[in-house]
């Protein structure tokens, strides 16, 4: 009997302890309620003039009473060090190899470019390692009679690399030569090769030269078998494209390429200036035309500066810990723009959300990456500031494959229009595409899957990019119209027999899943014979299916490489663009896109890009779903934060930590953001 009493008592004690441990944090008292610091300003530039149901949604207003935040009381943890709890997976520290945002964030802080964007502006450039931003007005951009263009950058003197070496014009030329000749597969070199040499790969250039020398056809030539003379000639062409002239550097473009300045200003990766002497000492390419092939398309492990850095930027590499994935940077006290306020930056790789959240809550992380699905668990954390509504240069869309690969395709059912599948060219009928667009419900998608933190996309060019047409017509949910289109599609056969297809999406991609579920529901409402199944795929499988052309529809997103309308219409609409190719869009828009990239007159360019946006709507090439709005969580003691959507990630240079830190209201108001702090 006594044993049983003991058991009951102990069980009760265990229960009480458990409840105490599991007890949630006390709800924030009144002063800790989310407190809007400032009412959001009017939505920024290029807001659609007529508020229609599909116009960008206003940023969510905080509902809590407007009360001043509790003043912070010390101490600040790690006052000179900024700790970021992130999900980052840095690929490489070699900026010319890098082509991902995590690596770009590090390069952004260690290396400088010739020019940069002016603060949060996406339009205005400032000189960086150059002393002037070239333009036709200042004579640094010259058009030749043969249509070629020369862009000259006068360079800053007295700048030092982190190791003490002086920055020279030769370093600039070397950096651009290296990125072009290195041309690692899947890398960023095409962004420089394309405007400067009118090729996408250095191998293509070598083949062209070899073809001229031998009389063979370029596409029959094996790059690995080209002669040594051809290799030298290839390198010499690269050298001719970027030349040192006194203390300046000249870029020679065979024809006008309006986004070139945006490519040079992109604050990471391919336009980073590295130290030639240092790089050569590490074992990287020595700058000779006789040796470049040995450094062409290296394996990551064979890249001598894969884990080393030496730039002119505000921070220097301290340590990249491969065991933890953490990286730390220390301040460059000799930085030519003046030293950063923070002595050290530590980016910690913390995969588990709960751990990141607790680090933010306890002040062990100054900035934390919080995925959208977890934001409710972080909002209200005392001591934290949230800045939301940041427009991202990204666009999501659902593409229609107009020529599906039928062989072995499990997603198109019978492969016939018999109610049990779809034919491979099902989406080549414009009424099918329009019917799908009319059956889509943007409002539900943005509300349910994206928590109202996105704007409805208006076409292939997002808001914030020059030549975005805020008045471009857009589809909206209209089942009557959808019915009309489906009744006309395939001579009425679609409506009569119905169809069946499967829409694969990336596992864990909640937005794509919801988008397809919306379509499924509405198609069923239209006609019970319309069946759309959904299936989630691991990334490996989805990658394979996207290559073999078996995906009937493809939910995708594009994040710009550089800030220009061409970088949007090309991948989505050009027959050689990534998405247009895999969705077999054809060559209908190629001429217009090519015209747009070779046109210098902004007014004429606007006409072209407006036309392309209109065509994208009229031809219903895709369902353009949304343009996301970002969130930034930080400690309230972090001062000086602002963001430019063109940057690869955050900018740590202007940041400091202080108890009286305030949000940068000029930036907040300028971009129409919302700030909440607790």
């Amino acid at each position: 009997m006594s044993d049983k009493i003991w058991i009951v008592v102990l069980a009760l004690v265990a229960l009480v302890i458990g409840l105490l441990v599991l007890k949630p944090a006390a709800p924030p008292t009144t002063p800790e309620q989310p407190t809007p610091v400032e009412k959001p300003a009017q939505p920024p530039v290029e807001k659609p003039k007529e508020p229609e149901p599909e116009t960008p949604k206003p940023i969510e207003q905080p509902k809590s009473p407007q009360q001043p935040s509790q003043p912070l009381t010390g101490p600040i943890k790690n006052p000179d060090t900024l700790i970021v709890a992130d999900l980052s997976d840095i690929d490489t520290l070699d900026p010319h190899f890098a082509y991902d945002t995590s690596s770009g964030e590090i390069a952004f802080h260690v290396y400088d470019n010739l020019i940069m964007y002016d603060g949060p502006s996406t339009e205005k450039f400032l000189p960086m390692l150059a002393t002037q931003v070239p333009s036709l007005d200042n004579g640094l951009i010259a058009e030749n009679a043969d249509g070629s263009v020369v862009i000259r950058f006068p360079l800053r003197q007295g700048v030092k690399f982190h190791n003490g070496n002086s920055f020279t014009a030769e370093d600039v030329a070397y950096s651009f030569h290296r990125v072009m000749l290195m041309d690692r597969s899947g890398g960023p070199s095409w962004l420089v090769l394309s405007p400067l040499l009118n090729v996408n790969t250095i191998a293509d250039l070598a083949k062209q030269i070899e073809a001229q020398r031998t009389g063979k056809k370029a596409d029959e030539i094996d790059f690995n078998a080209v002669s040594a003379e051809t290799l030298v000639a290839t390198c010499e062409q690269v050298e001719q494209a970027v030349r040192v002239v006194g203390n300046d550097v000249e870029f020679h473009l065979p024809k006008p390429f309006p986004p070139f300045m945006a490519i040079v200003a992109q604050s990471a990766s391919w336009a980073s200036i590295i130290d030639q002497q240092w790089a050569t000492e590490q074992g990287a390419w020595d700058g000779s035309c006789n040796t470049w092939k040995a450094h062409y398309d290296p394996q990551k492990e064979n890249d001598p500066i894969y884990a080393k850095m030496n730039g002119t930027g505000p921070f220097m590499l301290e340590k990249w810990d491969h065991a933890t994935g953490d990286i730390s940077l220390i301040r460059n006290d000799n930085y030519w723009r003046g030293p950063a306020k923070l002595a050290r930056i530590v980016i910690k790789k913390v995969n588990e959300f709960s751990t990141r959240k607790l680090m933010l809550q306890n002040g062990d992380a100054d900035i934390a990456t919080i995925n959208r699905k977890f934001v409710d668990q972080v909002d209200g954390t005392p001591g934290v500031r949230l800045i939301k509504g940041q427009l991202r240069m990204s666009l999501s869309f659902i593409l229609f494959n107009q020529k599906i690969t039928a062989e072995g395709n499990q997603y198109i059912g019978s492969g016939q229009l018999d109610g049990q599948g779809i034919p491979p060219d099902f989406f080549s009928d414009i009424d099918v595409r329009k019917g799908f667009n009319d059956a889509f419900d943007w409002e539900t998608l943005i509300r349910e899957a994206i928590k109202n933190e996105a704007e409805k996309a208006r076409g292939p060019i997002p808001r914030g990019v020059q030549f975005f047409n805020s008045e471009n017509p857009v589809y909206q949910l209209d089942l009557k119209k959808a019915e009309e289109h489906f009744k006309q599609a395939w001579g009425g056969q679609v409506w009569k027999t119905g169809f069946k297809l499967t829409a694969p999406y990336l596992v864990d991609d909640q937005a794509s899943k919801t988008a397809f579920e919306i379509l499924k529901r509405n198609l069923q409402r239209l006609n019970p014979k319309f069946e759309l199944e959904t299936v989630n795929l691991e990334w490996s499988a989805l990658l394979s299916r996207s290559v073999d052309g078996t995906l009937p529809v493809y939910s995708a997103a594009w994040l710009e490489d550089y800030h220009d309308a061409h970088n949007w219409v090309f991948p989505i609409m050009h027959s050689q663009g990534n998405y247009a190719t895999s969705m077999n869009l054809g060559t209908n828009y190629d001429a217009l896109i090519n015209q747009g990239i070779n046109e210098l007159n902004p007014e004429k360019r606007q006409e072209i890009y407006y036309e392309l946006q209109k065509l994208a709507y009229e031809d219903a090439i895709a369902i353009f779903t949304d343009q996301p709005l970002g969130r930034h969580y930080q400690q309230r003691w972090v001062d000086g934060y602002y963001f430019n959507p063109i940057w690869p990630a955050r900018n740590f240079y202007p940041l400091s930590k202080r108890l009286d830190a305030k949000p940068n209201m000029e930036y907040v108001n300028q971009l129409g953001l919302v700030v909440q702090e607790w």
Partner: protein, 354 residues
């Protein structure tokens, strides 16, 4: 004895060959584009189109036959070159050497509590069979069995690091923060004046005379060790209890008692030692399991060990890493089992190794 050891070790290459061939054969079920997902990690990296993907496939030899790929791996592995780990962003060997000390440290700190409590409470429960102490251990055991490690880990992390650190003054430099060391300690450990003799932070801290770092490292070990201990010793406690109960019913125990041997000595010398045999067997598996890495515990506590790396590598189809870790685990398994077999002979004189 030596012949026995040599014979057992001879099996090592054969087993290694078997497991690696099976893994390579399984990979052939994936096409080169699927395996390319290791290098092209998400849709945003599909920038170069199919042409770039084909270049990558060729570059990484993903279209080569099974024999060519396996031959290449074997040839390199013989020279201790296990390839490049895309998940660790370094060579597999460096990745292993960077993470193994953390896993080893965690194992060394966890194995003691697991076995000590399992044996002590198991003996106690058996000796007090069906009394309150036995019932109590039963409750604790059931809880240990039932609690998934991610639940226990998160509860401990939220309870100590999440709640106590906000309301109480710091203990061990904080309330058991995640990670292996605090930021300030990492700076010292990464500095030139700190010598990493063993790469076990607690040991190195003592050898360097850095007590603050020792306490900090210990503080970071408390929660992962507590999680691992509680999850694991529940099972071992039950086994120890059963084994002890069975031993206590043996004739030689009755004989000892009837001879008037003190009960404490009967348990300690006659029963407990014999009851340990199943625990010794299973402790081999425990060591292999812990040294191979504990995925969930390491992930929750941000502990940079082999487990989280192995999981990441498997999910991303990082073949080089998976093969490297598989080789390590296979060797470990064989060696630990050999040691366990040798221990039988020490514990039980009736066992003869031939």
């Amino acid at each position: 004895m030596l012949a026995y050891i040599a014979r057992r070790l001879l099996f090592l290459p054969i087993i290694l060959f078997g497991v690696t061939v099976i893994l390579f054969a399984m990979l052939q079920l994936l096409n080169p584009y699927e395996r390319l997902s290791l290098y092209v990690k998400d849709p945003s990296q599909l920038r170069g189109g199919k042409e770039q993907l084909d270049r990558l496939i060729e570059k990484h030899g993903l279209k080569d036959s099974l024999f060519v790929q396996y031959g290449r791996w074997v040839n390199k592995s013989i020279h201790l070159d296990f390839g490049w780990s895309e998940t660790a962003k370094t060579t597999v060997l460096n990745g292993f050497l960077g993470r193994f000390p953390a896993t080893l440290e965690l194992t060394l700190f966890a194995i003691g509590p697991i076995l000590f409590f399992a044996i002590w409470l198991g003996v106690l429960a058996a000796v007090h069979h069906n009394r309150w102490i036995d019932q109590l251990t039963r409750v604790i055991t059931i809880l240990g069995y039932s609690l998934p490690s991610f639940v226990l880990g998160l509860v401990l992390l939220m309870g100590f690091y999440g709640l106590l650190s906000r309301h109480l003054p710091p203990l061990f430099g904080g309330w058991f923060s995640p990670g292996r060391l605090s930021e300030w300690a990492q700076q010292i450990v990464g500095g030139e004046s700190f010598h990493a003799y063993t790469r076990l932070v607690t040991v190195d801290a003592l050898l360097n005379g850095q007590w603050r770092i020792f306490w900090d490292a210990l503080g970071h070990l408390v929660l992962p060790v507590a999680t691992l201990s509680y999850i694991n010793w529940a099972g071992y406690l039950r086994i120890m209890r059963s084994s002890m109960l069975e031993t206590l019913r043996q004739d030689y125990v009755t004989t000892a008692r009837s001879k008037g041997v003190e009960e404490r000595l009967v348990i300690k010398r006659h029963a407990r030692r014999n009851a340990l045999i199943p625990i010794v067997t299973l402790s081999g598996f425990l060591v292999v399991g812990l040294l191979s890495g504990v995925v969930i515990t390491e992930t929750i506590f941000g502990y940079p060990g082999l487990g989280s790396w192995a999981a990441q590598a498997a999910l991303q189809l990082d073949v080089a890493t998976v093969l490297g870790l598989l080789t390590f685990v296979t060797i470990l398994f064989i060696v630990v089992n050999l040691i366990v077999d040798l221990l039988y002979a020490v514990i039980d004189p009736r066992v003869r190794l031939t």
